[in-house]
Symmetry: D3
Subunit: 237 residues, 6 copies
């Protein structure tokens, strides 16, 4: 039995609220249960220096947690002087996930920065961030289309993400914090609307996992991501 | 006529929502119009090194803005390596304001950190932060009282803050961003429930201001802070 | 009775020595009693990046203390990696004070940096710095006038500063370190030759102060700044 | 046809030279073709602060590239002030891989740091680093056994790693730099001697990959890692 | 002919003013012509962590230049985040020079930090700093002797320094900035009262120098340092 | 008797292996006994900003030690945030030594960076680095000559370096770590093929040294450097 009382293949209650920011070109507040992430997409008419003159755009992401998003207060990274390894790993992951579904040359020489700020954390912040980031990105591109800056085909597909893990000996979907801290192994999956795999990151915490377990986790993820993709569609329609 | 159509002595619509954080000992979301600040109070059973063994506690504050709280996206301070002068100035101000109404020896050897994170900015973030920070602090101290950690007399008074400025030639209360950018002079006032002045910071942007103007700003502030103190009282009662 | 034996409305012995630097376009060594600040003004034929092409100049200030300017040796800020909040607050204050009396468009696309280095500290370093910085700035602008770079009307007025505080229950002028450490409240005032208020910063250390006290402090400041403005005039004439 | 002329399931020429460091408790120089990594294991009689008193040890890893290990010279990270996201991601990965095969409580309150310094880079530096790091770790534990500090069962298994990718439309094993730069997708696999999966990291560079492709990559990895485990065994026997 | 019109073996006008700091245990303002360095010695009842419990003291030095000590304004090192290579090299040099004449075990577990702050620079700042630092150190040790903290034999000897260089083809003593910028080679010498060599640093700027030239520079240095040692003696007697 | 059993005027076994890097324009692995330094020369078609448009090139050097090059593991400088004073001092020394034998205007507007990475340390790393850096630089310039980028006369001479010290009371050549830690004084000498002195750095560790001792060290250095210059010649011929 999971601490959350959920079925092994059951997501937490997920909600996405659109257009929550006065200033951003795109935004949403996504909740995976008690994990709440504010995603904003910001358009800038410039690209990073290394991309100049190549007639293509860029999508990047930044990720952060408010200090008291967590059970114990976490020290702000600015007081340490640079983003932690974990933060950098997550923001690189979000950026790659989004770029996998965008036609960068059709974006023009522009950059969209998607900021994912965790307001409250209860496990799965990176997968909630990716799933919400796509909604903010979608809104931003709609904003651009209304101004004839881009055409429809810039955004090629949806992308969403979920975590799975082995809790006790059972593969389960969408770990919350209590489950994650006690899981034998956990994995994050990022997939597109068309079912393609964009990213797989599996890590054995204590005991290496078998091929069979890994396949079961991937099947759970496919189911969960299917539901998240449906919710994204409803949200932006 | 103010861009906001408000009367010279009229606050923006102010609201305070309590207990918005799953984890923090105290919290609120305060809105001064379109300026939204999330305030959380975190209790720790330790004091800063320079205060050890002195049998008194400490209250400190941290302040930050989400990158897209602002009209244009602002670069995160962590990518620069340290908090800007403006950020440090504001968090020192919030800390002083709170300490002015707390009996630190009665707090015991503990530290309360109040985080003020600006979710959306439209002028007056520091005054909203101080006003909300007091509510989060109040909740945190209630939390401690329920656990017999402190007595009633730890928190000696309320504290709230507001900005005033000279817009055109008219002294006005509670500047929003559009007003602030065009004001001749602006000043921030921090006052207690008993009417004492905790902090005054007045700055002439272009033309130095006269004694009379300054006195008018202080009178406006006193009126506005009176209303904010009422709202705080309602919120925590 | 003040520790310094001075009357409540009595400044410390103040002196300003001009032209103390071999290299700087303007300079002075200002002494407020045992507080000694070396001020140098450096002209550069460039403006900060964000001001380029706007046909106006810029005045900025930097502030620092020698490590043994203080009673106990203070660690150099370079070993910490960035200027402290206090340092940034003071250098922003000095810069604003100077810009309030300069006609920036008439300066041309140039920057003047005024460095205020505290050689010895005994309270009131920021107010001594502002008062001396104006003299260094005046000399620098004279240097420019001799070379036909600017006309007379660039520098519109004088600016000077002083601190006041409530010592015991008495409002007193120009606090030294011994007085400042024991004051109930203290405030810094920056005013122009024409009597306009440029900046007011009042802070209650332990007990909030009343409107009446604040008004008394401002009156003391006005008297003290009047004397400092006289001394500046004598120095540069 | 691969640029390297290798069969799809063919590793580069791999060699491991043991005991190459005068000072380190364990060391090796591992070569995956033109990718050369120096691995040293350093024993310290202390654990990180957060692990003190828990009667278990810790294994950590650091990773770096010499500036001219790469085709173009890369700026040293020290001149930037902190390790890049990529560096931190890799050193966290190496550390997790090693900890998966060590019985940390049996290690005692000690830390082993494995440094992986890339002397020359031609793709696959992180997988070569993991494979070599295990050999350095093995030597270090032998060193400890000779001094009766630990028993045989500290090191529970071997661990090795390899990358795979889709080159054109063909899944291939152990990408070199020329192949990696043009691959559609690539994945890194870390497995134990017993065949357990410790870590899987798959990333689609341009086109998301299918479940079938992913399974093929995992099969190739299993074969390649099998050969690396054999070589490790020969090296340390 | 030297730009300064001095004879090849002639020092600049050198003066040392003692006891110039209100707070420091020892201090002086030393002038080598237009090069002015403020030296303060600060006593602390602690040693660096790596020296704890070894029943000996430590002498260290820090060096800095005010931003407008130089012809063009130099950016403060704090804005860069760490001391430059040049600064670190000089402060290490000053520290070694002072430690060479102090009996560290007899100092007790204490640290003396000598700060050398260049108020105005015209070449030879590091040699002026060493020569002045010894006077500040002497005063500090006198201060300690008056309080029975140490005995006479702590300070074993004097130490002073001077630069020499080849200007045109002539070896000359005590280079000022104009000479130094055009010298073929320059060298700094640090010697004790007893004539021992503590430090020699010779660098050929453009053309390597011969053994003979080097010997001539050392002879000049010996003469110049002799005069500086006399002046130190006069100053402290 | 030296710990290394060598004669006072005997170098350690020295070897230089050329062309050890796949990517660098010039490289060598130099060994002074157990001190091993990898030197690579990297050519870039740009100069530092302050040299732009002056029609001359630049040679610079960087120096680092692998963490376990030393007896105890040394913390990476990147974790501290900036290169230590020692590192900066050494890389400035190597750069000056190389520039002393290069005709910078004939190099054209290009920069060569020589990286000296200490793989294993046993004393004398900076002198080994200089001696090897010259070989890497020579190879790099050969590479440029083959491509008609420069002519023969760019490299004007050889340059090599060695340390000497007083061990007990005997002056000895080329100190290893065991000797260096116990030497009374040590000095590094850098000389050219023509016998010119480029750099002399002598430091008394405990007791100041006499003129005679210093002259003996220089004579030893001249002998040792003569042998190193011979080996360089053999290596590149």
């Amino acid at each position: 039995m999971r601490p959350s009382k959920r079925q092994p293949d059951e997501l937490r209650r997920v909600s996405i609220e659109r257009a929550v920011s006065l200033h951003a070109e795109g935004s949403c507040l996504i909740k995976f249960g008690n994990t709440h992430v504010l995603c904003t997409a910001s358009l800038e008419e410039r690209v990073p220096p290394w991309l100049k003159g190549q007639q293509r755009g860029w999508i990047t992401a930044e990720y952060s947690m408010l200090p008291r998003a967590t059970h114990e207060r976490t020290r702000r990274e600015v007081t340490k002087g640079y983003p932690s390894g974990r933060t950098q790993e997550i923001q690189r992951l979000i950026g790659r996930a989004l770029r996998a579904v965008v036609d960068l040359p059709r974006l023009g020489e522009r950059q969209i920065t998607v900021d994912c700020d965790v307001i409250q954390a209860d496990g799965g912040t990176r997968t909630a961030a990716i799933t919400g980031a796509w909604v903010a990105l979608y809104e931003c591109i709609q904003w651009m289309k209304l101004r004839d800056m881009v055409k429809d085909d810039v955004l090629r597909d949806q992308v969403a993400a979920v975590s799975c893990g082995i809790y006790g000996t059972t593969p389960v979907l969408d770990l919350d914090y209590a489950e994650d801290s006690n899981a034998e192994a956990d994995a994050n999956f990022v997939m597109t609307g068309a079912g393609g795999i964009v990213e797989v990151q599996g890590t054995a915490e204590t005991v290496p996992f078998s091929q069979e377990s890994f396949d079961e986790l991937m099947a759970l993820a496919r189911k969960g991501i299917g539901e998240l993709l449906q919710l994204q569609k409803l949200t932006v329609s």
